[in-house]
Symmetry: C2
Subunit: 244 residues, 2 copies
Amino acid sequence: MEAIISNISVDCVIFGFDNNTLQVLLTKRELKDRETGELLIADYTLQGHHILVGENIDDAAKRVLKDKTGLENIYLEQFQTFGDINRLRRPKDQLWLKTMYPMVSDHVVSVCYYSLVDSTKVNPDLQHPYSSWFPVDQLPELGFDHEEMISMALEYLRNKLWREPVGFELLPDKFTLSQLQSLYEAILNTEIDRRNFWKKVSQMKFVIPLDEKHKAGSRKKAQAFIFSKDVYERTRKDKLTLSY
Amino acid sequence: MEAIISNISVDCVIFGFDNNTLQVLLTKRELKDRETGELLIADYTLQGHHILVGENIDDAAKRVLKDKTGLENIYLEQFQTFGDINRLRRPKDQLWLKTMYPMVSDHVVSVCYYSLVDSTKVNPDLQHPYSSWFPVDQLPELGFDHEEMISMALEYLRNKLWREPVGFELLPDKFTLSQLQSLYEAILNTEIDRRNFWKKVSQMKFVIPLDEKHKAGSRKKAQAFIFSKDVYERTRKDKLTLSY
DNA sequence: TCAAAAGTGTTGACATTACACCCATGT
DNA sequence: ACATGGGTGTAATGTCAACACTTTTGA
């Protein structure tokens, strides 16, 4: 077992997309009284871990992700560091820490990342028996300050989606326009006109139509598309306007 | 002297606006050989400090700001945490740390903030004899990874300026439209048509014309404006579009 | 009187929005 | 045959970019 740095951790908000809903991967946290068997704590937390001695924080986040999803080389972005001295001070969190990690410092600063994964590639049940997906708008009870982390991650994701084509990270390599549209609708929590969305997307040179057709649960077969990061990088123009 | 947490620090990129230029406040770092008097290190760094035991990281940033500028309640935003194990590994930085702070950990994670100040309210020479303002596009040699921090802070500031009216933090309470315009031009590094800018700004209900006239170095007196945060908060509508 | 900055409107191009019908296919 | 989602065009509106002349006033 490698040595941890006890006052710095990383937490990962792992987003996936399924059933036309934006989901978050959470891990169950349970604590029973040793004698009575009474459930003292039963809630969920994000995936996180302390950083190791000699480990970059970005690498710590990648490690957590690999451990919990089995995935590597996925979209990962640091969005905020939580360093309030009271962030672990709720009684149930104190109870959890005292019981499970008695040696860990009382003031842990957590560097938070969000990552976007193609949820068809993750099988949380196999990877980690206590993990499961929850829709972002129907979260269970959460430990620590993880609810705040998720809502802040979502805010960052929304802002990012608005400016950069990160949504594709959440879809399989090949996708249809309606999948893409419902992804945008789910993340931005809005409705989009299908024809206008089509028009917008067809201007994006980096969304490339394939010859293939997809029978994505629909009656009529829909055209499949892929996202080309390469084309995106080459054709991006950093427009600046004055608009707020 | 209060106890510090040796592996966590905050660094502040303090932006000001003067001479129609976006400026950064930097502190001189000098190290001379004790015997020969030879200058071993002569460069600049950001303002930073380790967090104290029992101190929130946001409060640590406020403390650094207060110490270096004398100002309180100013715009401050956490933008990124630097946690690479090699970030302090350049020979001159190692020499500096070994000489000045021999007890400090080798792996310091730094939580970075940028702040926006009305530079007319700061007198860095009085506040701190080794501090001075530098235009962001004419930086001196910098210690540690502070050059990267500044360029990342600038990126975050640009994105923010695009979406929210933070620029006013850099101006005196009363300002003219040409001051505001040259602020936008300096930060976004672009030229803006004066008439279009005027049109845009006059739609912003939170930029409020005063009866006063200002003789801001110009021949003709210009109208003075103030920014109302209150009006902004009440009239903001979070528009979402699909545009990148 | 003139140089330098302030103040102001119009037009064309482009982007966004709203909206309705036909098509292909699996049931 | 029909229900479901796929595919497409047009008109109205709003926003952005380009552009030139007059006014004020300090030197």
